[in-house]
Assembly symmetry: C2
Homo-oligomer: 188 residues x 2
């Protein structure tokens, strides 16, 4: 569970004392299998650091189909971000894929840290920049690639996903049906 | 040209002296009609504040089709962000729609401001958070809506775009062809 400390040591010049104080605010949380940790309509009150497993940030469209906005992998940080920043009800839900171990940091603690520890704010700003860049790449692939090209790109960049996640989660992430995914897989 | 000063006054408690010092780093830049201010393969060295007109951040896919990743409107800030943050060559280009007036802040000056003026970093962090939220909404619409639903949403949220921008720019933003857009427009 010392992962956030290691990341802070690597990316900042914060003292060990400050790192210890910061990491004490990340609370460990062991989920139930496939638990929905934020429901649609609820406010996302925490940002999550994934120690083990995957979190799936999902939305439902006007006719009830599920889509996966983001997958948060081991070692990554995420939440239902628009709700977290505004502290207003979320249009997305966060669900564990299987059983997960996460560390969660509350909205209040994060903002207090940013206010009191400028170097933490710089670190957090870097996190948001990287998340935004990931989102930009996702937009690019969605507007400029075919479903087959997106499938090939994901297979190349994140082969582990295909071993660790059920087909429906992958299909929802690619924005296609499970049947289309199965057709793409058999294409040579 | 006092727009960035007004925004800093509204969103921070920075002194007038500091605001004056910051705003002096935003350099005015009048573009030529449809000028490409960042080309694909070039490094994005500035972040742009749009005073007048629209900037179009565009990408080209594997078969040479153009797509619009983002449209940066009057009063908004943007750049080819992945290139700007990494200071590596951009996969996207930035082109003016018509003639634009922009203020540009260099990568070096922005980072110096973040380092020296913690409150500026908080303001800039807020900008990135909002840009990330916009990107998340764009991902949601791309994975969960039909082209017609995306067209209706854009018409509802940003009706001005349809008066001010040529049809091909709108189509490229929606990720569809000009012909499909024209078909959607005639649908009741």
């Amino acid at each position: 569970m010392s992962l956030p400390a290691d990341i802070l040591r690597k990316n900042t010049t914060l003292s060990e004392k400050k790192i210890k104080m910061i990491v004490a605010l990340y609370k460990p949380f062991k989920t139930r299998r496939n638990q929905e940790i934020v429901s649609r309509g609820e406010v996302a009150r925490h940002i999550y650091f994934v120690v083990k497993g995957y979190l799936r940030v999902g939305v439902t469209n006007s006719v009830g189909h599920q889509f996966t906005r983001f997958l948060i992998e081991e070692g990554m940080v995420g939440t239902a971000f628009p709700s977290f920043v505004s502290q207003k009800p979320s249009t997305a839900s966060i669900r564990c894929v299987g059983q997960c171990e996460v560390l969660r940091l509350s909205y209040q603690d994060l903002n207090l840290l940013c206010k009191k520890v400028p170097e933490f704010e710089t670190y957090y700003r870097g996190l948001i920049e990287q998340a935004y860049i990931q989102a930009i790449h996702r937009i690019e692939s969605l507007i400029s690639m075919s479903a087959y090209e997106r499938y090939r790109l994901l297979l190349k960049e994140k082969p582990k996903l295909f071993q660790q996640l059920p087909a429906n989660v992958i299909a929802e992430y690619l924005g296609i049906t499970k049947e289309t995914l199965s057709r793409l897989k058999s294409r040579k």
